[in-house]
Symmetry: C2
Subunit: 206 residues, 2 copies
Amino acid sequence: EDLLIQQLEAAAKNYHLLQEHGLQAINVMGAIGSGKTELIKRLIEYLQREGIRVGVILGSISDNNDQQRFTTYKIPVYSLHTEEASYLDAAMVAIALKRFPLQEVDLLFIENVGNLVDPANFPLGTAQEIIVISATEGEATVRKYPKIFAQTEVLVINKIDLASVMEIDPQVLIADYMQVNPYGKTILTDAKTSRGMEQLIAALKI
Amino acid sequence: EDLLIQQLEAAAKNYHLLQEHGLQAINVMGAIGSGKTELIKRLIEYLQREGIRVGVILGSISDNNDQQRFTTYKIPVYSLHTEEASYLDAAMVAIALKRFPLQEVDLLFIENVGNLVDPANFPLGTAQEIIVISATEGEATVRKYPKIFAQTEVLVINKIDLASVMEIDPQVLIADYMQVNPYGKTILTDAKTSRGMEQLIAALKI
Ligand SMILES: Nc1nc2c(ncn2[C@@H]2O[C@H](COP(=O)(O)OP(=O)(O)OP(=O)(O)O)[C@@H](O)[C@H]2O)c(=O)[nH]1
Ligand SMILES: Nc1nc2c(ncn2[C@@H]2O[C@H](COP(=O)(O)OP(=O)(O)OP(=O)(O)O)[C@@H](O)[C@H]2O)c(=O)[nH]1
Ligand SMILES: [Mg+2]
Ligand SMILES: [Mg+2]
């Protein structure tokens, strides 16, 4: 119980700091390799055309991460190494926010570590959260991890281009999500071709 | 440090119990939806033809799990619900082993929770370990989670049938694995068609 209160208080601090800077922050959660980075790249391309200044905080376990995949956008990217934790928490994000040039961005993507369990217990203090799963994981993902899907208002089913070759019906995932989260929004995306980007931008109220 | 010793001692207890029963146990780790269950099913089919008696301990977070996918084999299957933990540990496995009909099996698959971080820190006491990743997660999986790949002697790259449509080169993953684990074995599999099963059986010394 004490641990939960600590997490909530730390998250609230981050929330207020972001509000003070007029920053919209989005916690991008999801399974390993589901396409979080690719999705963020497509969103950055879209948003830069609209003149919105974007930044990224990138969570990872090891020094090997995808920081270089953002170089082309010339935006602030901060790598947050968790060392052993398989999730980001509010305290780690607080450290990152201290070192981040908050005045240089309007929108901040925080890419969480690939994990469908722990991030549900560690609110970061972002205004929005999305969870990115891949059609290639199968049809059972939502029902196997009900807690995180019940708590997250936007579900992205990525790699939708591979659903038919895998004989996966995305409607199964959507129905399972509606069952634990009747007001949640589902977006089908192919992050390699930008399919679904406009609906996602709308769902995120950007 | 104390925690690590506790884990090692609990794992050692499981190891001795399994040895006493002449049982070969295999810890099947991997990413979410990488094909662990499908792979175990193909292995069971192969082994049953050889007259080997198989059992499964199935780790999961929620009550929704894949226990029914094994019904057709008429083997003992024990579902181990972790509640909150995103990994199985030796203590949980000890409880499962107490309730499992150990005298009825020769080979025991323990399907771990989908996670490439925590299981590296929680030995279960099995004689063998394998890690199952999917080609659909991309080429970066091994270099992003070096610890678990350094510790695990058999790497299975599953869904190899989808590597070319995703433009993934499995040789990248194999090279990254060789770098952290020079003696590790890599097996390419398609768990839907049994491709790679014989090499995997050989690598597991079954
Ligand atoms: N076919 C297809 N491939 C995709 C799609 N999105 C991402 N990929 C590929 O999937 C692999 C993983 O993509 P990433 O963007 O690195 O995924 P991630 O969730 O950021 O991965 P981690 O941060 O390591 O957990 C890469 O090879 C991508 O090119 C998609 O919509 N369709
Ligand atoms: N194309 C293809 N699909 C596969 C392969 N192996 C498994 N699948 C599919 O991938 C999805 C997930 O397979 P599972 O066996 O449930 O994977 P898992 O690792 O046990 O999943 P969790 O236990 O939930 O983490 C299912 O839809 C399978 O049919 C493969 O080699 N090729
Ligand atoms: Mg990424
Ligand atoms: Mg499974």
